[in-house]
Symmetry: C2
DNA sequence: TGTATTTAGTTTATAATGCAAACTAGTTAA
DNA sequence: TTAACTAGTTTGCATTATAAACTAAATACA
């Protein structure tokens, strides 16, 4: 019907490239440390921190602070079921957009050939 | 190698949902009028205008101003070969990201089963 | 004729966001 | 005991998305 309005429905929390990389990494890892995640994604510490807190607010990730030998702070991050579900839905929506635009493209070329 | 850095390479001009919808519509239409495109995407006029001028600066679209019966202004928009190519490359990169994260996810589950 | 309204867009102002530099709190080294 | 490092958070800046306000021309109508 209105295929090009489907883009507006993309979950912006996941769509943002830095966060998509965080979420994808977490989906693969089940649990990761802050520094490991930072290395993996190539983000700066400040960036990681602010993106993570956005994801935490949405309940997409769970952040736990523990201490190594009760001294060195270590932040561990896990994806939540909510976050995992949101990621799946995000890719579904991407697929949907692709299908629907392909279809519309075909319809137009039938209506206005050449 | 560093799969989660691939997200940073997504073309941000196309990645933004409003512009993805504009570009997808144009790819299907070959040529469209401003108001038609606005209706299609559901964007406000101001939004349309500013997104279009960004796409124009990147040479992703060509904007032509003509007059209906030499009176009513009519803006027509076409995707350029550059824009069309960028859109194809965008989807390629999306595919690439998907493949690579899927793969990494498998590797991790092999390395740390259960 | 002149004033009001509509149309087709552009410009401007604002609010949100992404980003890295600067900061904090604790640890180890000299 | 002071300097330097570590692990992260906060702050400030620059960019961006968005809609409201504006512009310019056309039509409506009184």
């Amino acid at each position: 019907m209105m295929p090009f309005k489907e883009m507006a429905r993309l979950d912006k929390l996941i769509h943002e490239p830095a966060r998509l990389s965080i979420m994808s990494a977490l989906e693969a890892c089940s649990m990761a440390e802050f520094l490991f995640l930072q290395e993996l994604t190539g983000l700066t510490k400040g960036n990681m921190s602010s993106h993570l807190s956005k994801l935490e607010k949405a309940n997409y990730v769970l952040i736990g602070k523990s201490f190594l030998r009760k001294k060195i702070p270590q932040t561990t991050i896990q994806i939540t079921p909510t976050g995992s579900h949101a990621l799946v839905e995000y890719w579904k929506q991407i697929d949907h957009i692709r299908e629907i635009t392909k279809q519309w493209s075909q319809e137009t070329s039938i209506a206005f050939p050449g």
